[in-house]
Symmetry: C2
Subunit: 326 residues, 2 copies
């Protein structure tokens, strides 16, 4: 079965368990940007982000024996909530490894979805070894948040629904973090649509990976888009490399301004990672004048007590010194 | 023609010019509150609030001769944007009197909708005299934001659509500011539904008016719900007094918590005035257990640079000393 056929099968299986989120638009934003933009609102998805789709698909495709041992993942973000929620929906045990440095709010959110949180040290190595140990001891299957083919295909159903609802799109934009959403979008586009990724300049590992042809990492990740700090994996990179037309990079000020635009004009709470894709379309707006562009709004999980809108002018000026595009 | 018949006529006339906004719900919020709550999302309305409905109705019902002279209003809030937008849609001249102390953002928003802004002094008297002078000089018809029967009937179409979409509601809640939305909700309920108002303790003039039987005002209005600082008028008060079942008062902390709940769980930007109605349902949740309750979300116009979520704990404690209900 080819990847697109797997996606169709996945969509049918997970549909009863996820929201078929709305596609919204704003005539005011269209006027401002000069393009006809539609937003696939995965911020309205269960768990507040698209991640539940991939978690459900990966779990559904486990063998009955593997299912009986449960699943384990490590994440401090949306995938932790997604695995908690998906395993509750499907009746599996779960082990969610989170750094003890993760905010109480995030841990509480995972607990709230029925997650069995296991705290660990702060480094990536701590998380990986804790998850590996749990997997060994319990037989639980490890689920990677983005570098797992069934996760990728599950994430692709978000873009699939967007293209089903608005089949005459000229292009589709999504943010690139670990690469699951972007690779899934490529599968959903099935060679029939132009797909673009977007990244902060401050975490442009995928952009550089596309240039160099091998997976690059970030020396630093000084970006507000906390969901996009991770790097690509060996399963999603080949898909992205072959099918993604380009990755558009944006500055921190552009991200904040795009986030502000969507919050104020559309009254939608979107997370900074989603605003990266909006900022990319705005940055390239001359290329999309009078064209129809779809954006996958990846999620809406933000910390309301720590928002960037009242960012001091000096800090904004500092952000402006972020390297400009060639 | 009785008021309900006027509302039906109005709804037909204004429908092509306004959004038939969605009615949304959240299973998480329902679980938390224990009631089945539906939200009529007027934050998605043109101009970001329900106010456009009343402005359109009032303008449409002017005589051709009056239309030719345009309309004038004074407002520092959502009604200024609504009159600007409605008069642009209907091709009328407009004069929007705003205090020069109004934020540049608000004045820019009104200008953005084609508003002809005339600045005046800071007091209510300044605004009223400036508007009266313009009306005299130009023949423009003065539109009151809430104490005008055609405005009230227009605002009622929001609740009308809610009841049309969810006809089995046990009750309907809305915030009470100048009284236009609440009186309109009473007209829309047509004696067939229970309608409740909601107010901050810090601006409970309508609550006290219901008690005393005459229009009360606020000595102070120390509330975050800036849209609810105004008082009732002689046209809407009799309707409210006869048909509103009760007005539920809420504290500032309850307002902020309700606002936070809707932003984080539903990913919707709602303004503090709307959160007052949500807070009222939560405060009275034991009465509505397993019942179906509708809330009119009045709007989503907020100043993102001045949000209440990072409110210092000390200030929260101070708010807690707000008088508790009897």
């Amino acid at each position: 079965m080819d990847l697109y056929a797997q996606l169709l099968d996945c969509h049918q299986r997970i549909s009863p368990l996820v929201h078929d989120t709305p596609v919204l638009s704003s005539s005011l934003i269209n006027e401002l940007v000069g393009a006809n933009i539609v937003f696939k609102c995965e911020n309205f998805q269960k768990g507040g982000a698209f991640k539940i789709r991939g978690a459900l698909n990966a779990i559904q495709l486990l063998s009955p024996q593997k299912k009986s041992c449960g699943v384990v993942t490590h994440s401090s973000g949306n995938f932790a909530q997604a695995v908690a929620l998906a395993s509750r929906q499907l009746g599996l045990k779960n082990y969610i490894v989170m750094p003890s440095s993760a905010s109480a709010v995030k841990i509480a959110a995972v607990n709230g979805y029925g997650g069995n949180v296991i705290e660990c040290g702060a480094t990536v190595l701590d998380r990986e070894s804790t998850a590996a140990q749990i997997s060994e001891e319990t037989g639980a299957t490890f689920l990677h948040p983005s570098n797992n083919l069934n996760v990728i295909i599950g994430q692709g159903t978000a873009t699939f629904e967007l293209l089903r609802d608005v089949p005459d799109l000229d292009a589709c934009f999504c943010p690139v973090g670990g690469g699951g959403l972007a690779a899934g979008a490529c599968v959903a586009a099935d060679g029939k649509y132009r797909v673009f990724g977007s990244e902060p300049f401050e975490a442009d590992d995928a952009y550089r990976s596309m240039q160099s042809g091998s997976i690059e990492s970030n020396a630093s990740t000084n970006t507000i888009a906390d969901g996009l700090k991770t790097q690509l994996g060996d399963i999603n990179f080949p898909i992205i490399r072959e099918h993604l037309e380009a990755i558009i990079r944006v500055t921190e000020v552009e991200i904040i301004d795009a986030m502000k635009l969507v919050w104020t004009r559309m009254k939608l709470v979107i997370e900074p990672s989603s605003a990266v894709a909006v900022a990319a379309v705005i940055r390239e707006s001359t290329k999309w004048r009078s064209k129809k562009v779809g954006i996958v709004i990846s999620g809406g999980n933000v910390d309301l007590e720590n928002l960037p809108f009242a960012i001091p002018r000096l800090k904004r000026e500092a952000h402006k010194s972020t390297p400009l595009p060639e």
